[in-house]
């Protein structure tokens, strides 16, 4: 089995380098992504980083082609191993110098440097070494044991997908969507809720003339609220009067607990302003 892995390494490695290289070289997102990569910090210029990413992409594509095509020589494998070592060094730099920045590894997304990127780079290093040590062409090895070769290729594809920089987009989100379609929406029961959220009541209040009439008195945001007999009471703190006569007050609003801007355009709101210390009415509105 190990001989098969070694001999199929050029094929598997080409499967890793080819798509990554094509993404960097031809991807429309390369120029957009480049300034946010650690490479831009290393090269001190986003434009130079984009050019470097495209050159790297071309190199990866060339290596992939060399790994796939005859003649069988250790050179492409050794070059890929060197590339993997370079990736590891770059990732180490990126993690230390620009944590949180994108690595530019796949040129598909602004994925930050994570353990997945390190494992991918290590896989290129190890795969390059194995490819350099291959004893026979990959197509010959696959022809001798096609079943085992197919299983190996599938396992490598699964591992590559799992190590992908954007697993959410590739498989986690579709799986979650599928689960929702099969099992139903987990929050379907909330569709039957008729209670108006406090946020909707506050929104209604803040667009009422009642609010406008006393807003100059109100100083706080919502202090407290509760429902009572179909009314929703909203309590604010404020200051009434100016200078030495200024005194702290409570501003109380009573709003229909079942009303929102979707159901009422001209809300009827009851307003009271009372002294915060004594509870005595302070001002009349309307």
């Amino acid at each position: 089995m190990s001989a098969l892995v070694r001999d199929l390494a050029p094929l598997l490695l080409a499967g890793v380098l080819g798509p990554a290289g094509a993404g960097k070289l031809f991807g429309r997102g390369t120029a957009r992504q480049a300034p946010r990569t650690a490479l831009a910090r290393l090269l001190r210029h986003g434009g130079r980083a984009a050019l470097a990413l495209r050159v790297l992409g071309a190199l990866e594509l060339l290596l992939a082609a060399a790994l796939l095509a005859p003649p069988v020589t250790p050179l492409p494998g050794a070059a890929a191993a060197l590339l993997g070592a370079g990736f590891l060094g770059y990732l180490g730099y990126a993690r230390a110098a620009a944590p949180g920045s994108s690595c530019g590894c796949t040129a598909r997304r602004d994925a930050p440097v994570t353990w997945r990127a390190f494992v991918r780079a290590a896989a290129v290093l190890v795969g390059g070494g194995a490819a350099a040590a291959a004893q026979r062409p990959w197509w010959t090895a696959a022809g001798h044991r096609p079943g085992a070769a197919l299983c190996l290729a599938l396992a490598a594809a699964v591992a590559l997908t799992a190590l992908s920089a954007d697993p959410d987009r590739r498989w986690r989100m579709p799986l979650r969507r599928l689960r929702l379609r099969i099992t139903g929406h987990p929050l379907a029961a909330t569709g039957a809720r008729t209670a108006v959220p406090i946020a909707a009541t506050v929104e209604l209040l803040e667009r009422s003339r009642a609010w406008q009439s006393v807003s100059r008195v109100v100083r706080s945001a919502l202090l407290d609220h509760w429902d009572d007999g179909g009314w929703r009471i909203l309590q604010f703190a404020g200051v009434y009067g100016g200078g030495p006569a200024a005194r702290p007050v409570l501003v109380l609003f009573a709003v229909d607990a079942g009303a929102s801007l979707d159901t009422v355009r001209e809300p009827a709101v009851r307003v009271s302003v009372i002294d915060a210390d004594s509870g005595a009415p302070v001002m009349a509105t309307a």
Binding site: A111, D168, R176, R177, H185, P186, L187, A189, T190, G191, R193, T194, A195, V196, P197, I198, A199, A200, V202, E203, E206, R207, S208, A210, W211, Q212, S213, S215, R216, R219, S220, A221, L222, L223, G229, W231, I233, A237, V239, G242, G243, A246, L250, L252, F253, S260, L261, D262, E266, P267, A268, R270, V271, S272, I274, A276, G279, P281, T285, A286
Partner: protein, 211 residues
């Protein structure tokens, strides 16, 4: 002793309810905007009353709580002291009291500067976050959100989390949220685990159609 002065909050609420319902009724709408949780992100308020000093803001992490004064280390290296009184509104995912404020919480406060250097807070928003995210997963008790490169768990609060679909009013119906939707999320960050208690999830117009 009147019901207003008793220590029983139910008695007090009953008194305040009666007072509110005896207040003047004002009918009509206005185009004036919001001042509640969203106001934490609004420009400083310029009071209409010239006798009232212009509002000042403070923000940062609470490093110490000494009675009613919060020591706050600002995001830009500044330090401030915020005084919380009985008239200060405290928001921490919901309207609450100063007793819920903890050291390590993030804070955004609006108030009036006092001569002693403290900020007498009119309103305090604790751990408030308002961010743009993509819904990546939906479960019974939480949403999985992506904000830039960060994955965030959004905790759904029974009877408290609302959704706003397009320009419609916030509703308790969360069943029209779908995976992949872009959303503006208002909530309270939990310093202990980095998750966010979701208060309002607003999705774009046209989103939220029943499938």
């Amino acid at each position: 002793m009147s019901a207003y002065r008793t220590g029983d909050p139910l008695d007090r609420r009953r008194f305040l309810t009666t007072t509110a319902l005896h207040g003047a009724t004002v009918i009509g709408a206005t185009a004036l905007g919001a001042v509640d949780a969203d106001a934490a992100f609004a420009a400083p308020i310029r009071p209409l009353d010239p006798a009232v000093a212009e509002s000042a803001f403070a923000e940062g992490r609470i490093t110490a709580i000494n009675d009613d004064v919060l020591a706050v280390a600002g995001s830009y290296g500044d330090h401030s002291r915020v005084r919380v009184t009985g008239a200060t509104s405290v928001w921490k995912a919901r309207a609450t009291t100063a007793a819920d404020i903890e050291t390590g919480d993030g804070l955004y406060a609006r108030g009036v500067p006092l001569p002693d250097g403290t900020l007498a807070a009119d309103a305090v928003w604790v751990n408030i976050v308002n961010l743009h995210a993509t819904i990546r997963g939906i479960e019974k008790t939480r949403l999985h959100l992506a904000h830039g490169q960060h994955e965030i768990v959004g905790n759904l609060m029974t009877e408290a989390t609302s959704a706003a679909y397009g320009t419609a009013s916030p509703t308790a119906d969360l069943s029209r949220l779908t995976i992949g939707q872009s959303a503006q999320v208002l909530g309270a960050w939990r310093p202990s685990d980095g998750s966010v208690d979701l208060v309002r999830v607003a999705v774009a117009p046209g989103a939220g159609r029943r499938r």
